[in-house]
């Protein structure tokens, strides 16, 4: 008999080593999430996957993408309280960057946007920061629009663990944290990034873009025009990892 825990009152089986989010997705149950990627070790930075855990009389919250599945866990996820918290997190991400969806070529294929509409986010709520983040258009085939970065670190991990190039890194702390390009000039043109790299495929939002292909898909045919992100959750169920969990070139 496989082991199981409770998610919103339902039994979820898991294989040892899986996290709560991985087990839930494998069982076809959706917990909203953003920085988790099925091919990489969970990183736990966005906190959108936060759930409430009851054990005995005490209650605590934790990011379900990094929380190891254990027998007897009683987890609350799809409740008004947890979804309200997730809406607030998504609102903060919108207010912190410059997200002008109508002019963004990721629109319709963007996980942040899809999450917002699925959770019922009607406004950014907070005062917008409108930060000044110049784009990097130095590379002939690739555009970097830092205005939309949510600091999920997926490109950093893909570039290090799969491409073994370490083109990207996060720099700074707290509100000054930002994505940087590992080149003396700081320019993407001075790296060996290539269009076929894994780092080109993982950005959940519209930062790392291939030039000259934007807006090719008509509205109505883009990924999240078809079905809400929650209905596509099985796509995010664990599959063979492409990330090694560490970088062989910089050993981080």
């Amino acid at each position: 008999m496989s082991e199981s825990f409770q998610l919103d009152g339902e039994d979820i089986p898991y294989t040892p080593g899986q996290t709560v989010l991985q087990a839930a997705l494998s069982a076809g149950r959706y917990i909203p999430h953003l920085c988790y990627h099925p091919e990489f070790k969970p990183h736990g930075s966005c906190k959108v996957c936060t759930v409430k855990i009851a054990s005995g009389k005490s209650q605590r919250t934790a990011a379900s993408c990094t929380l190891p599945a254990q027998p007897g866990l009683e987890i609350e996820s799809d409740s008004d309280e947890m979804n309200e918290l997730r809406r607030t997190l998504v609102q903060m991400l919108f207010a912190e960057g410059n997200h002008f969806c109508p002019s963004c070529e990721k629109s319709g294929n963007c996980a942040l946007q899809a999450l917002g509409s699925d959770l019922g986010v009607m406004t950014a709520g907070f005062r917008h920061f409108y930060p000044d983040r110049p784009v990097d258009a130095s590379h002939p085939d690739i555009l970097l629009d830092f205005n939309r970065c949510i600091l999920c670190e997926l490109c950093v991990r893909a570039s290090c663990e799969v491409d073994e190039k370490c083109v990207f890194a996060l720099s700074g702390r707290g509100i000054t944290k930002h994505l940087v390009v590992n080149a003396a000039s700081g320019q993407l043109a001075d790296t060996d990034i290539a269009l076929i790299d894994k780092a080109m495929q993982v950005c959940p939002v519209g930062v790392i873009l291939t030039k000259r292909v934007g807006f090719a898909e008509p509205i109505g045919e883009r990924r999240y025009d078809q079905r809400p992100i929650s209905a596509q959750a099985l796509d995010d169920a664990p599959r063979a990892a492409t990330g090694k969990g560490r970088c062989t070139s910089c050993e981080e």
Partner: protein, 183 residues
């Protein structure tokens, strides 16, 4: 004796720093306009050309706040409308006009009216009739209290219809994921 005519819901609409796309979307409800007009009447609106907003039940505001006149009109709406609704991306987030927010206003004016290559003898307009531009573009909720937000650039006719019919029948407006769009 004929039944007394039910008092109509009074709606005002305006476009501030917007493109009238949201108003076009409202017209896109097509023949449902007839059903709507049985229940509502319009106060100040581009559809009536009434210049000032009187007491209303619902105010629909398209566009963000980019100049001093926008602030006056928005306050007039807030003072007169029981329910104030931010309609569309610009009203909700500042929208595309807010893309100028990380640039200095002086640089923008210089570029658009003076440096721009197709202009010769360009000058920054200074007619006293023109409202003063604000330093930054703001969404409505940064200036007045907003009761409801409808994102979308523009929100679709179906989105506006669902929102209005919910409101007119006394329900709390609720849009599903298919009707909440940010583009």
């Amino acid at each position: 004796m004929p039944a007394p005519e039910q008092k109509k819901i009074r709606i005002a609409t305006t476009s501030l720093a917007g493109c009238f796309g949201c108003h076009m979307s409202l017209l896109d409800i097509d023949e449902r306009l007839f059903a709507l007009l049985e229940q509502v009447e319009f106060d100040r609106s581009p559809l009536t050309d009434i210049k000032h907003c009187g007491p209303c039940d619902i105010g629909l505001v398209e566009g963000g706040i980019c100049n001093a006149e926008n602030v006056h009109v928005l306050r007039e709406f807030r003072n007169n409308c029981k329910i104030l609704v931010a309609v569309g991306a610009c009203a909700v987030t500042g929208g595309l006009p807010a893309q100028r927010n990380h640039l200095s206003l002086a640089d923008c004016l210089q570029e658009v009216y003076v440096t721009e290559i197709s202009l010769h003898n360009g000058m920054i307009p200074n007619d006293p009739e023109l409202p003063l531009p604000l330093d930054k573009v703001h969404p409505l909720h940064e200036v007045v209290k907003v009761d409801y937000f409808i994102p979308g650039c523009p929100p679709s006719a179906d989105t506006l219809w669902k929102f209005l019919t919910d409101l007119l029948t006394g329900r709390t407006p609720k849009l599903g994921a298919d009707l909440i769009r940010y583009d």
